[in-house]
């Protein structure tokens, strides 16, 4: 039952073949069975999930009209607030904090009767590409427990790949939904910036952060996308326009006559041979499905990584100033006569991990007078150039494509002491955030050299998210008929529940 996709689970709930309580319990059992090895969850809300499931079953018994995913369980990244449920962002500074309010994403999930199983592990404050920066220990990739599940949303991607949940919420500032999806053989979407409310999403880099849906199929991802998206008056950057029709696009999967642009700069040197081979193969399948493949150039993308590592730290140095030990969270050194400043200094020393400190300091530098123009100011100009590159490319193509990341999952610890090597993981995902457009990653197969999953990235213009779902669904269908079974069937068997 837990290996079904979310749409099938929903159909079985409707037909009465299974209840939400049974389905939720099956996932809680699975978590109990395998999560000691995977460590996808930071908190499991057994009681709350079962209560929510029982409430959905009662509504269904009464014949109430329910939403398409009602009663299906979900894993929530620990960066979103849920009233009364611990929210740590993977940081010691928020250990034990129970927010007094729901994020809008959680409000929407509850409105749709989607059952929230618990909170998933992540790099501290979403800063990282491996989930090794969590203060609560790393998450392990279900394909190979010695490898990383991607980051920052490695808990959500691992939960999907280990069949601990059929749906998950992620957030993507430079690739934190798409890169974890790529390295775990799952699907993840960063919607257009402003498409999903950021209210209650603990801010890292406000002009780049975007919450989005994660699942094991393109259609499941689309169903979750429509459940959480839409205008929110509580978020001043939320777009007040109809939600793109992504479910219809995922169901049709029609790419006939569509122009698919291959970004020349996001391929080639630095990309693992198996990643390139799977990418080329996917292009052939899309051409066979009726799409026209064209090449596009985005010359300024090579500066995207450098600009990102100025903009994101600058915004984070400002956003994380709120963790000042005064109103919530950790407080250290509050002895008689201690000043507020010394309490702040000591709390932030103990409460923040290495990468968070590194980025706060870098951001403080980039914003300081005398360096502002050279660093933050220049990075903002690069942002303009990248957006122009996208505008030009979208004149030649309906969507753009690339490999999601240059390599498959690396070993835990392999890049932990080399920040620049770690940052390179995001080279193909960052441009999307800089321009605020939509991006999807879906599995395109296994790399021959290591047998690990490879991701295929699709990028669509602002508020044209349905296009990436059409292309994603077409490619998924073509790959499925080629493989004969979902990619995750090739992952190692875990636990005793199968």
């Amino acid at each position: 039952m837990i290996r079904n996709n979310a749409a099938d689970m929903a159909a079985k709930l409707v037909s009465g073949e299974v209840t939400s309580v049974e389905l939720t319990q099956a996932h809680l059992d699975r978590i109990a069975d395998v999560d000691a090895d995977v460590h996808a969850f930071l908190y499991v809300d057994t009681e709350g999930a079962l209560a929510q499931a029982a409430a959905v079953d009662a509504k269904r018994a009464k014949g109430e009209k329910l939403s398409p995913l009602a009663g299906v369980p979900l894993a929530l990244k620990d960066v979103m607030t849920q009233k009364g449920i611990p929210t740590t962002c993977g940081s010691k500074i928020l250990e034990g904090w129970r927010p007094p309010y729901d994020s809008t994403v959680v409000t929407n999930l509850k409105k749709n009767d989607i059952v929230i199983l618990g909170k998933t592990n992540m790099d501290e404050f979403a800063m990282g590409s491996s989930t090794e920066n969590s203060a609560y220990g790393p998450t392990h990739n279900p394909w190979d427990l010695t490898r990383i599940p991607g980051g920052s949303g490695g808990g959500s991607s691992a939960a999907l790949a280990a069949f601990e949940a059929p749906l998950a919420i992620g957030t993507d500032t430079g690739g934190s939904i798409r890169q974890p999806a790529a390295v775990t053989g799952t699907v993840g979407v960063k919607p257009t910036y402003g498409g999903v409310s950021r209210f209650g999403l603990v801010a890292f880099s406000s002009s780049l952060d975007q919450a989005g849906p994660c699942a094991r199929t393109v259609l499941d991802t689309a169903l979750l996308h429509e459940a959480i998206a839409g205008h929110d008056p509580k978020d001043a950057t939320s777009i007040n326009a109809p939600v793109p029709q992504v479910v219809a696009a995922a169901k049709s999967g029609d790419v006939k006559g569509m122009k698919i642009g291959v970004v020349k700069e996001l391929n080639g040197d630095g990309y693992q041979p198996g990643v390139r081979a799977r990418f080329e193969e996917s292009l052939e399948l899309l051409a066979k499905a009726g799409a026209e493949i064209v090449e596009v150039s985005a010359p300024n993308f090579e500066y995207a990584l450098a600009a990102y590592y100025l903009i994101a730290p600058s915004e984070c140095s400002s956003n994380l100033a709120r963790f000042d030990a005064m109103r919530y969270g950790l407080r250290v050194g509050d002895v008689d006569g201690a000043s507020a400043e010394s309490v702040m200094n000591l709390t932030r020393e103990v409460g923040f991990g290495k990468e968070v400190k590194r980025r706060i300091i870098l951001g403080t530098y980039a914003l300081s007078s005398g360096y502002y123009d050279a660093y933050y100011g220049s990075a903002q100009k690069v942002r303009t150039l990248i957006t122009q590159d996208f505008t030009n490319a979208f004149e030649k193509a309906d969507v753009l494509v690339s490999p999601t990341c240059p390599t498959t999952a690396f070993k835990i610890g392999e890049k932990a002491n080399d920040p620049l090597a770690m940052y390179l993981n995001d080279i193909a995902t960052i441009p999307v955030n800089m321009a605020g457009i939509g991006g999807m990653s879906l599995p395109s197969g296994l790399a021959d050299e290591d047998g690990l999953p490879v991701g295929f990235q699709i990028m669509s213009p602002v508020m044209k998210d349905e296009r990436m779902y059409s292309v994603g669904a077409a490619l998924e269908a073509a790959l499925l008929s080629k493989w004969g079974a979902p990619l995750l069937d090739k992952a190692p068997v875990m636990g005793g529940a199968r």
């Binding site: 904090w97 129970r98 927010p99 007094p100 309010y101 402003g194 002009s207 008056p233 001043a236 950057t237 777009i239 300024n300 500066y303 450098a306 600009a307 590592y309 100025l310 000042d324 005064m326 109103r327 919530y328 969270g329 950790l330 407080r331 509050d334 201690a338 000043s339 507020a340 400043e341 010394s342 309490v343 702040m344 200094n345 000591l346 932030r348 020393e349 923040f352 400190k357 590194r358 300091i361 870098l362 403080t364 530098y365 980039a366 300081s368 050279a374 660093y375 220049s378 990075a379 903002q380 100009k381 690069v382 942002r383 303009t384 150039l385 957006t387 920040p419 620049l420 321009a435 605020g436």
Partner: protein, 106 residues
């Protein structure tokens, strides 16, 4: 050219990072300061590339959306109760956040 030893250079770079750490309100050990300043040099070299294409004729972009101020009607709506707002406070007193002293003794 320079008569400074590697240790001296690291110490000087450490001082620069120490100033930034002070501005960011993060206490750091000497060892942390030296490690961070070493990494810092490498990272700054890498990100400085943005200057290659950031000409005077390029407009900066601070945000992907054209931001406008958003107003709501000036009516009272339910919000957090004092108990809820204080629920995460490290210390409280008389329904207020209790904080360490902000001004000096005098």
């Amino acid at each position: 050219m320079s008569s400074l030893s590697r240790d001296d250079v690291a110490k000087l770079a450490g001082l620069a990072v120490a100033k930034l750490a002070g501005l960011a309100r993060i206490e750091m050990s000497d060892e942390e300061l030296v490690n961070l300043s070493n990494e810092f040099t490498v990272i700054l070299d890498a990100v400085a590339r943005v200057q290659e294409v950031a000409g005077a004729n390029v407009e900066p972009t601070s945000h992907p959306l054209p931001l406008r101020n958003v107003f709501r009607p000036d009516v009272v709506v339910p919000s957090l109760t004092p108990e809820e707002a204080l629920s995460g406070a490290p210390a409280q007193e008389e329904q207020r956040f209790r904080v360490p002293q902000i001004l000096g003794e005098e």
